[in-house]
């Protein structure tokens, strides 16, 4: 394998990262996680399929196997970014706690003062709103229900935890 493959893989990932930053600085979509998926996975996959299907040599003069290697490296780097993006999109309470403690006078806080800094509206309601935007939950007659897709996602996670011999995560 030519060392250039690794360079091209990072180059492609960096290119889509720049596109992501450019779009975000113009307008941030309410379904930003889905847009991240489209930028990093859907668009590059479509480009890869077209280039492969047409048997076209990339500007970098790669054959099909080399193109696949670049694509897989880009996918791997993208997978990490996509998996990390929720923590960027809405700072997790865990990281907020750490920042809070570090910023506190003398760098220490009691549990009560930490809890008081969080409102239930931020911790739970914001997540409920999120799930509604992505149509994973719907409100019917004053009650919240899962959509079909949400049921599938939930069952996958439950099965995953069962396979690991672990109870469902406490959140």
């Amino acid at each position: 394998m030519s060392p250039a493959i690794i360079f091209y893989g990072f180059l492609v990932f960096s290119l889509f990262l720049c596109i992501h930053v450019f779009i975000w600085r113009i307008k941030i979509s309410r379904i930003s996680s889905l847009v991240v998926l489209i930028i990093f996975i859907v668009v590059p996959s479509a480009l890869y399929a077209v280039l492969l299907g047409l048997g076209m040599a990339m500007p970098m003069k790669l054959n099909a196997v080399q193109l696949s290697e670049v694509y897989v490296l880009h996918l791997s780097l993208s997978a990490v970014y996509i998996a990390s993006y929720p923590a960027v999109r809405a700072i997790s309470p865990t990281l907020e706690i750490i920042l809070m403690i570090t910023a506190a006078p003398d760098g220490k806080m009691t549990e009560e003062s930490i809890v008081n800094r969080f409102a239930t509206t931020t911790l739970v309601k914001a997540r409920i709103d999120d799930l509604m935007i992505y149509r994973l939950i719907v409100e019917r007659n004053g009650r919240i229900e899962l959509t079909g897709l949400a049921r599938l996602i939930t069952r996958c996670f439950v099965l995953f935890r069962k396979a690991l011999g672990l109870p469902v995560g406490r959140g």
Binding site: S2, I5, W24, L77, L95, I97, I98, A150, V168, G171
Partner: protein, 173 residues
């Protein structure tokens, strides 16, 4: 060429290898922080993945600069996919949205107040404080929590910086 396709195939399957190892480790190391066990699974997964890569790829490749590139490529892809697996596992362990979906599925349906009552602010924060103590990022002494490890603190700073670049700073959507 065929060797490189086999290499890609083994790397793409490596998260499954990690998962299989994780199913055993999570039962053996029940008392350890789950995130630490997941990291162990990723590191240990190097053994079977490395063995497969050696048997089907590297054994036939002469030792030269191209083989070194292949090795670096394998490390990059393996750990990228491994880190993705870790994030997926951590989501199953800590994500509020997953917990909310699970609670609703268990109950069939819930009122918004019912959901908030099940999943209280106190519980959310207490769980996280216990986790942070368990993974040695904070310590509890004399009724106060203080910073201990720097890993998550550095991660938090990086995230804040990246949020500024993405212009997310003015909102927490």
């Amino acid at each position: 060429m065929q060797t490189e396709l086999i290499m890609i195939g083994i790397l793409l399957v490596s998260p499954v290898i990690v998962f299989v190892g994780h199913t055993g480790l999570s039962r053996i190391y029940r008392s350890q922080p789950p995130q630490l066990v997941a990291v162990k699974a990723i590191i240990l997964g190097l053994l079977p993945t490395g063995a497969l890569l050696w048997l089907f790829v590297f054994r036939a490749v002469p030792v030269n600069a191209e083989a070194a590139s292949m090795f670096i490529y394998c490390i990059l892809v393996y750990f990228s996919l491994g880190l993705t697996y870790f994030h997926f596992f951590n989501m199953s362990e800590t994500a509020r949205r997953i917990r909310i979906l699970y609670e609703i599925e268990k109950a069939g349906s819930l009122s918004p107040d019912g959901l908030t009552a099940l999943y209280k602010t106190n519980d959310i924060i207490t769980i996280r404080l216990k986790r942070l103590v368990a993974i040695k990022q904070i310590e509890y002494s004399g009724q106060y929590y203080t910073l201990r490890g720097k890993t998550l603190y550095v991660a938090a700073l990086c995230i804040l910086a990246w949020r500024k670049i993405l212009n997310l700073d003015h909102r927490n959507d």
